[in-house]
Symmetry: C2
Subunit: 294 residues, 2 copies
C-alpha cells in the first residue's frame, strides 16, 4: 500500500499515514490538491489529510476538496502533536535570531515564542519544510518548529521539545481512497462513523430539522461544520460527523429522512473511528485502527 501526504519528509501527515498503516510506503506531495490527484490517478492507494486540530480548528481546504473530488473517507487517525525547536548541530538557543514554521505551528507555540525576545518569527509553508530549508541553505542562526522526526530526517539537533502551549494538542486525519478500493482498504474492520455533506432549503429551522433526523434515532452528531457556497451568499454546505456506520439500519433511515428535504446530500464515507485513547498512549503502544487491519 502507498499513502500520499502533503508536506516534506518528517511532516505530521507522514506520521499519520504511517500510523494508519505501518507497512505502507509514504509519498510526499507539495499541496493537498496533489494528494487528491495522486489517489485519483491510482499512483497511490490512499491519501492522509489533516481535517481538524484540537487547538487550531478545522482545515477547511480539505473539506472543500472532499466535495470537489470523488474520493471516499475510509479511515481516521488521531495524532498527538509535539512540537520541537530544531537547529543545525552546534547552534545553541542563544544564537537563534530567526524561527521558521507553518503559521498553525507558530500559533500553537505562542507562549514559548513570546519568551524568545528579540527573535524574528517567520511564517513558512510547512513545518518539516522549514527544517529542510535550514539544512539546505545552511542557516546557522535559524531554528524551525517541527516534529522530532523532521529534525532527525533533515539532520538538525533538538534545542527544546514539547514547546506547544497545550499538552493535549491532537490533529485528526482522514484517510481517503477511490470508491473501487474501499473494500480492500477497510478489510475486516466495520465502520462506526460516517461523514455526510448536504445543503438545506434557506428557510427558518432547517438545520434544526436536519439534526432532528439523527436525534430522533439516537444517532450522535460529533461534529458540525459549515462552509459557504460560492456565488450564493450566506447559504452553506453543512458537514456532519455521525457516530454510526452506514451499514446500520437507523443510519440509512436517517439519511433517507434527511434526503426528503435536503436539496443535495452526499455521504463522504463511512469508516472506523480513531480511538481517541490511542493518541495519548506512548508511541510504542499506539497501533491505531489502521494497523489492526493490515
Amino acid at each position: 500500500m502507498r499513502i500520499a501526504y502533503q508536506g516534506e519528509s518528517g511532516a505530521y501527515s507522514e506520521a499519520a499515514a504511517q500510523k494508519f498503516n505501518p507497512d505502507a510506503a509514504v509519498v510526499p506531495c507539495p499541496a493537498f490538491d496533489d494528494v487528491f490527484q495522486a489517489v485519483e490517478t491510482g499512483r497511490v492507494t490512499c491519501g492522509a489529510l489533516p481535517i481538524e486540530n484540537s487547538i487550531g480548528g478545522t482545515i477547511h481546504r480539505n473539506y472543500d476538496l472532499l466535495v470537489q473530488h470523488e474520493l471516499k473517507v475510509v479511515g481516521e487517525v488521531e495524532l498527538a502533536v509535539i512540537h520541537s525547536l530544531a537547529a543545525l548541530p552546534g547552534v545553541s538557543l542563544e544564537q537563534v535570531t530567526q524561527i521558521y514554521s507553518h503559521p498553525q505551528a507558530l500559533a500553537q507555540c505562542d507562549r514559548f515564542l513570546r519568551s524568545c525576545s528579540g527573535v524574528e518569527i517567520v511564517a513558512t509553508y510547512d513545518t518539516a519544510g522549514s527544517a529542510k530549508l535550514i539544512r539546505e541553505r545552511n542557516l546557522k542562526n535559524t531554528a524551525a518548529i517541527a516534529s522530532e522526526r523532521a529534525a532527525q530526517v533533515h539532520g538538525l539537533d533538538i534545542l527544546r521539545t514539547g514547546i506547544q502551549d497545550y499538552a493535549d494538542n491532537i490533529t485528526r486525519f482522514l484517510i481517503v481512497t477511490r470508491p473501487a478500493a474501499i473494500a480492500d482498504v477497510l478489510g475486516a474492520r466495520e465502520p462506526n462513523k460516517t461523514t455526510v455533506v448536504f445543503t438545506l432549503p434557506n428557510t427558518p429551522g432547517s438545520l434544526f430539522k436536519a439534526l432532528s433526523v439523527f436525534a430522533l434515532r439516537d444517532i450522535d452528531v460529533t461534529k458540525v461544520e459549515s462552509r459557504p457556497i460560492p456565488g450564493r451568499p450566506w447559504e452553506y454546505l453543512f458537514y456532519l460527523d455521525l457516530a454510526v456506520g452506514t451499514q446500520e439500519y437507523r443510519c440509512g433511515r436517517a439519511l433517507m429522512h434527511l434526503a426528503e428535504f435536503a436539496p443535495s446530500l452526499k455521504t463522504l464515507g463511512s469508516y472506523p473511528s480513531a480511538l481517541t485513547v490511542a493518541a495519548k498512549l506512548p508511541a510504542a503502544a499506539t497501533t491505531g485502527p489502521g494497523a489492526a487491519a493490515q
Copy 2:
C-alpha cells in the same frame, strides 16, 4: 466617532468602517488584536472586523478574539468585494512578473491568476499593504490585488478590475464597541439580530436541544459556527446568529431556556442587521444601516 480597522489605508475594512458611519474618522491598526485594544482603551469608539466572506468563509480569529475580550457587537456591515490588479503608472500587464496579495484575495481571484502564466504569485499580509509596498519599494514588475481605493491611495494605476471569480463576493463585518458606549452607537436603531456563544454538555443530541430552544419559538438561526476549546479535544464553542433582537420577549425566553443546560452562555451583542440588498446597489445608493443613524 473614530473607528479602528485592521490593514493599511484603502483596505476593505476601512471601506466597511466608512459605510457604517461616513462621518467617522478611520484609524488603521496592524493586527486584529490591535483593533480590539484600541476600542478597549478608548482610543476609538468602535472597531470594524471582518467576520465572514461569502466565498472564503468565516474569519475564525475574530470569533476567538470576541470571546477573549469584553466588547459588544453593535452593528453589521456588508460590503461587495471587487478586486483590481494595480501597478505603478506606466507598467503594462505584459510587464508584470509578480503579483502580491493576501492569501484570501489570491484564492478569490484564482481563475484570473491561472490565466497569468509565468507570473509568480506571492502571499502577503494585506491587500492594501501590497499596494503600499509596491509604491514604497518602487517595484516595477509587480502588481497587487487590492481595492480600487487602495490603488488610488497608494498611487497605483488599475490594470484590470473585477478580477474575482464570483461577482457575488461579499464580506460581512461586525462593528464592536465598549459596553458603556452601546446606547450612543446604536442611537435610535432597534436591534433585530443577536450573536451568542455557548458551550454544551458533551452528550448526544445536545446541539439539537440547543437549536430546539430557538426553533420552538420560531427564531431563525442564520449562522452556526463551532470552534475548538483549547485543552479539551473535540469539545466546541458554538456561535449562533439569531434573526431577533434581545429586547424581544421570545429571545430572552429562548436564551434562558438554553442557559438551563448550557454550562456557559454569553451574548456577544444585539444589533441591527446589514441589509443584504444594500451591498448589491451601486455605491452611491448604499447608505446601509450605519449611515441612517448618524
